[in-house]
């Protein structure tokens, strides 16, 4: 099929990608990821001591993820502070990153991941996961694999990746995944929509393909930072 999308992309094309590592000096690791008009930044602090002490886990680190949207990131202002939506996204984000980490290496500590959506135009949770994964790597925390994330759907009979703008209304489903390409395991999978099992499988397969593209971009961004550090 050769349907053109509202922004001229083919169905398997991801929006223009920009990734930059090390954008927040104070953080132990940080990154900015933009996909078209969606921009996420992530900061990692830790592993650091966890207070109060009764929250410490004796044999592993606690991973904490907080996803939030800047009030000016959307068409209508978002109220600051946690919402039910942001709480759920924080939870699934944590669960999508945790399998990549060796938390058992840092008993009694906390690793804190803060994600801020600066601009939102669909795909904020996936952009946030991409940024957070880079930030963890930038923090020098050993990982099984980078976690990479994108959403897919099916529009007018065609599996379509990285939905944006009005495509979220036209698609049969909105299906974000997070994926560790080297290990071939899925760490995030959600779906809203209405489609047969067969199509769900097809959509997941396309999303995995998209993740592999983003994976290469993530590695480039890390190399660029490391190269720069090497020069310094």
């Amino acid at each position: 099929m050769s349907t053109k999308r509202e922004d001229g992309r083919g169905p398997e094309d991801i929006r223009p990608i920009k990734m930059e590592v090390g954008v927040i000096k104070n953080a132990d690791g940080s990154a900015m990821v933009s996909l078209g008009k969606t921009v996420a930044i992530a900061a990692v602090y830790g592993p650091r001591e966890l207070h109060p002490k009764h929250l410490q886990v004796s044999n592993r680190a606690r991973l904490k993820c907080i996803y939030s949207m800047a009030p000016f990131s959307t068409t209508e202002r978002v109220r600051p502070g946690p919402s039910r939506r942001s709480s759920e996204i924080s939870k699934v984000t944590r669960e999508s990153l945790e399998p990549a980490l060796f938390l058992e290496n840092f008993p009694k500590t906390t690793i804190d991941v803060f994600i801020l959506i600066v601009q939102a135009n669909a795909g904020t949770r996936t952009a946030g996961i991409n940024a957070a994964s880079l930030a963890l790597a930038d923090a020098g925390i050993e990982m099984r694999d980078l976690v990479t994330s994108v959403a897919a759907g099916k529009i007018d009979g065609t599996y379509t990746i990285d939905l944006a703008g009005k495509e979220e209304e036209a698609t049969d489903c909105d299906l974000p995944i997070a994926y560790m390409p080297r290990i071939d395991k899925i760490t995030l999978l959600q779906m809203d929509g209405d489609m047969p099992v067969k199509d769900v499988k097809g959509t997941i397969e396309l999303a995995k393909k998209g993740c592999k593209i983003l994976y290469e971009e993530q590695k480039k961004a890390l190399l660029k930072k490391w190269a720069k550090e090497g020069l310094e």
Binding site: K91, E98, D192, G193, D194, K201
Partner: protein
Amino acid sequence: MNVQDQYIINLIQKAHRIDGRGLEDFRKVTLEKNPIGQAEGSALVQIGNTKVVVGVKMGVGTPFPDTPKEGILICNAELSPLASPNFELGPPGEESIELARIIDRGIRESKAIDVEKLCITEGEKVWMVFVDIYPINHQGNLIDASGLAAASALANAKMPKLEGDKLIYDEKKTPLPLKELPIPVTFAQIKDHLVVDPSLEEERAMNGRITVSTKENGNVCAIQKGGDAMTMANIEKALDMSVKKGKDLRKLV
């Protein structure tokens, strides 16, 4: 990892479960319709020792500006410390928010409620449907118990009468305009095996969880993965099995 977790994992590798069930077996499921007199609709679901009450209440409110002709659905789950030593007092945490949102999305995405029929005056007044989920005893798989109870509570709900601005709760006749019965089915990945309807003990030992909500025609309307990393094989298995299991559970509603 404690001894029980290890035991469950050892068993599963021989395709055995701690309570003797087959990998694809639910615990005993019972459903009581409309146990709560004051609710517009309600259900008490028991899956093994897990017990969840869901009540549906209706009110009148203002529609959202972007959907002026549509009624409003609000799902809420309270993980009261009454139901488990692991639940704590306080405002809803991640776990209860996720539970409510999974049930909410199943109903919303399957278009179970005909929300346009819940419009009273466009842009001004619409029906609000509150689905409140109250676990009474938590022994694993709250999602499926809640989803089944919610479907039943909605299916058996009767709307109060609206006279002018006043709601007459004594005269409930008209059923809720319902088009679909979405049923969530939850699987745990233990080691690399997939089991349906995990018990609390299995939830502790699992390394991945996936819930698939399906419609009567077998279409998937919502998915939520939780926990650790899953293989594509297990995800596909869960997708396939959810349709069949969903059909079985839907018969109880």
